[in-house]
Subunit: 336 residues, 2 copies
Amino acid sequence: MLTERQKKLLKLIVGEHIKSAKPVSSKLICKTLKCSSATVRSEMATLEEIGLLEKTHTSSGRIPSEQGYRYYVDNLMNPKEISGEDMLKLQIIFNNQQLQLSDCITKSLQLIADMTNYTTIVLGNASHENRLKEINVVPIDNKQMIIIVVTDKGHVEHKTIEFENVSLDEIKKIISLINELIVGTPIDEISSKLEYEIKPIIGRYVKEHEIVYNTIYNVFKDFSSKNVNIVGKNNILKQPEFNNIDKVKNIFTKLDEEDIMKKIDYIEDIEDIEENNKNIKVYIGKESNIDDDMTIVKTKYHTSKEEGTIAIVGPKRMDYDRVVSLLEYIKSNLEN
Amino acid sequence: MLTERQKKLLKLIVGEHIKSAKPVSSKLICKTLKCSSATVRSEMATLEEIGLLEKTHTSSGRIPSEQGYRYYVDNLMNPKEISGEDMLKLQIIFNNQQLQLSDCITKSLQLIADMTNYTTIVLGNASHENRLKEINVVPIDNKQMIIIVVTDKGHVEHKTIEFENVSLDEIKKIISLINELIVGTPIDEISSKLEYEIKPIIGRYVKEHEIVYNTIYNVFKDFSSKNVNIVGKNNILKQPEFNNIDKVKNIFTKLDEEDIMKKIDYIEDIEDIEENNKNIKVYIGKESNIDDDMTIVKTKYHTSKEEGTIAIVGPKRMDYDRVVSLLEYIKSNLEN
DNA sequence: TCCTAGCACTTCTTTTTCTCAAGTGCTAAC
DNA sequence: GTTAGCACTTGAGAAAAAGAAGTGCTAGGA
C-alpha cells in the first residue's frame, strides 16, 4: 500500500508529465509537496522500486511507468467536471432535436477529437444486433437495379445489380421471397440462411440466379465491415511522442486494419478491476495493442435503439481525467 | 530549344533521381551518355541556366527542377507498356463480371495504390450529373422511418427521420408528392426546387412539416459531400521526402479538406499544353496545391453510366511513365 | 525515525572542431 | 567541342569539449 504522500506524489508526477511530456524532476515537485527535493527523491526512488515510476536515463527525472498510469487510473484519478466551455459545445449537439442519434454520436466525437487533439473511434452497431427489416428494389434502367437492405436498427446498405438474362419480374419475385422468409433474421445469420434455405428455392424460379444471389449475399457481407468510424487521425501527428515517421506509419497502419479496431471491442473483461469507473475501460500502452505509447479509453453505450462502442485514442500520456469525464458525459447523454 | 543530347541528359537525370531520390552526379551519367563527366557537367550547367535543373547545394549533383519535370512530362516521357504482372492483376478486376463499375474503380485504384506506393483518389459522380430517380420510405417502428434517395446513376443516400406529431401516412403523402414533382431533377438543383416549389405545398398538407422537410433537404445536401475516396494515404509515409512530421501533417490535413480535393477536379485547363497525353493532366509541385514536393496525375473517365475523376498522388519525384500508363490503361478499360 | 543540505557523479544536449567523401567549376590542352 | 586535372565547396559524421539538469548518497539535525 502506498502512503498518502506517495499517492500525492504519483498523482503530481502523472499530472506534470501529461502537461509537459518531459520527465519530472524532484525540484519541480517539492514546492507543491511542501518538503525538500531530497525527500521527494527518496520517495521517487521507492515508487520506482515498486514499479510505478521510471527513469529515461540514470540522472533524469521520473516518468510514470505503464503500471504507474494504471495505478493512477484505477485509484487516483478523479474525473473533474467537464469545463463549461466543453459542455456548452456538446450540449449544442445533444440539444439539437433535428439530429438523429447516429449523427449525434458522430458529431460529438468529431468535436471531442478537435477539443482534445486525440483520435476518436466509433464502432457502430454490431451486426448481430441488427435484424433484417426490409429489402427494396429500385430499377435504374433496363439493365440495372439497386438492391437496398434496411435493418430494424435503421442501418442501410445498398448495391447495384446488373442483369442480362433475368427479368425484373423474376428479381422482384426473389426479393419478395426473401422478404417473406428471412425478415427478422439477425444480419450475421443471414448468410447461412441464404445459402441453405433461399438458394435452393431461387434455383427453381430463376435460371440466372447466381448473379442475383451473389449480389444479395455481398450486400449482407458489407454490413459487418462498414461500421468503423475514425475521426481526427491526424491529431496523432501533433503529439510529441509521435514525431517519428516509422512510429506513425505503424500506428496508422494498425488503425486502418479493421480487425484490430474490432479487437478493441472484444479485448475486454481481461481485468475487471476498473469496474469502478462506470464501465469505462482504459487500455494503457501495450494493452492498447496499437503502440506502447498509446492508450485507448473506451466505453459501450446502450440505448433502446442501438448500442455501440466509442473510444478515445491518444498518447499514453493523455489527459485521463478529462477524457474519462468526456466519455462519461457523452455516454450518459446518449443513453437518455 | 534543347539539343538531342540535352534532352537525353535531362531524361537520364529525371530517371535516376526518381529511382534514387538523391541528386544525380555527372559521373553517374557520363557512362550512359558516352562522354566525360566534364562534358556532362557543362551540359548540366546549361540546363541549370535554362531552369530545368537545380542543385541542393553548391557542390551537389543535380535534381530536376519543377520546370524540369514539366519539360520531361510534356516532351520526354514515353509511357511504357505496363508490365505484364501489373496488367494481369488489373485484368482480374476488370474481367470479373460480378463487379459493378464503381467496385471496379475502387478495387483497381486500391490495387494501384498498393503496386505503386502512391496515393489514389476517386472523385465520384459530380452531383450535377445525377438526377433524382426515386425516393423511398421504410418505416422502422412507430416513431422512425428511413428515407432513401436513389439517383438515375445509381447513387443512394439515406437518412433516418424521427417523427412525433406526423403520421406515417402524411409523410408518405409528402414523399409521393416529391416523387411526382421533382423526379428527374439534377441533384444540385433540388435544394432550390425543394425550397420554392415543394415547401409551400408541404405546408398545406402537414402540420409538422419542418422536420420532414429538413431531413429530406439534408439527404440531398449529403450527396455533394460524400463522393471523395482516398486510398493508400499511408503510402505517403513511405517516401523519403516526407520523413518530416510537419510536412506530413500538412499534407494529410490538406488531403482531408474535401474542398481542396474538389479543387483538383476544377483546376484544369489552366494550361492545355499537355493535351497530347490523352487528357491525362499532371500537376507538379506547387501546381498540386498540396505540397511543393507532391504531384497529382489525374484524368477524367466518362462512361455511358457515369463519369468521374481518378487521380494518383505522390512525390514530385514519381514514376511518371508508369503512373501515366496505368492511368491510361484504367481509363480505357473503364470506358469500355 | 524522518527530513534536509550539500556535493560528487552521471547522462544528455549542444556546440565546436576535424576529417572525409562526393561533387562541382574552371582552365588549359587536345 | 571535348577532356583531364586540380582547386574549392559543402554536407555528413565522428570526436571532443563544455554546460545543464538531475540523481544518489552521506552526514547532521529535529
